[in-house]
């Protein structure tokens, strides 16, 4: 008879969260991409007035920001995985990860500024 190991399996426990987040953000991007790119591929060209009007719509601004946040979070998980694979010295890896986070947080704020500020 196989006896169940008398110990609690431990681990950081966040791997599945990142795995799931990567897929949820992927589906958000997939839906936005298909609608947004599909619209422009069909339409061909767009005038400044139409472009400006599209992004003056509050719902469009919110959906676009959600898309960007999904992109940035997806990029964080992906780039972190790449850094874990290739950058072994802990100090360099940490510095690069911090750089990636700062860049992506900055991009998030920048996206909000572009969407609501212009």
């Amino acid at each position: 008879m196989v006896k169940k190991a008398d110990r609690t399996p431990v681990g950081a426990g966040y791997g599945w969260q990142d795995w799931l987040a990567q897929r949820i953000t992927a589906i958000i991007m997939l839906l936005f991409s298909v609608v947004f790119l599909g619209f422009f591929i069909v339409k061909g060209s767009v005038s400044y007035g139409e472009w400006k009007q599209l992004f003056s719509n509050q719902a469009m601004r919110i959906l676009t920001l959600m898309f960007f946040v999904a992109v940035f979070y997806h990029a964080w998980i992906g780039i972190r995985d790449v850094l874990m694979d290739y950058i072994k010295p802990a100090g360099i890896r940490l510095a690069l990860e911090v750089g990636v986070i700062v860049f992506l947080v900055g991009c998030t704020i920048w996206s909000g500024a572009i969407l609501w500020g212009s």
């Binding site: 897929r23 997939l30 591929i41 990029a75 992906g78 572009i114 212009s118």
Partner: protein
Amino acid sequence: MPTLRSVYKDNKKVLHMSSVPRAPASRPPRPKYVDINLLHLPPAGLMSIFHRVTGVVMFGLLIPTVLCVLQGTLGSEAGFMRWKGYFAEPMVKLIVIGFIWAYMHHFFAGIRYLLLDVHVGIAKEPATLSARLVMIGGVVAAILIGARIW
């Protein structure tokens, strides 16, 4: 004549780990061979490394580019017309088509992974076929969209 006890001890000594020759503590590092010929990879591996490379490239180049374009085109009509002028340049169009390939390859590869997650096409043959389709799909999509924007 050896006693039973001494035979046992001798045998034990032979079998004991400490008598097994071991590598010296400071041995030279093993040679490392890295096969960088991507064509040696199976289709799923090739698709996978392109998924990774396109992801890193889009992180570093496409994200800031898209934000710059959005800022420029929404900022003023002059900015919109300036970007429209840039996009009329053949070199810029080639770069855009490159980005479209990266996006579409990553997109199709991602859909393949989502399907694998729900055990669609998980066996070896369909997984190899879908990896080929992802790579072909990325190139075909880039050509079609590229032709549309040219």
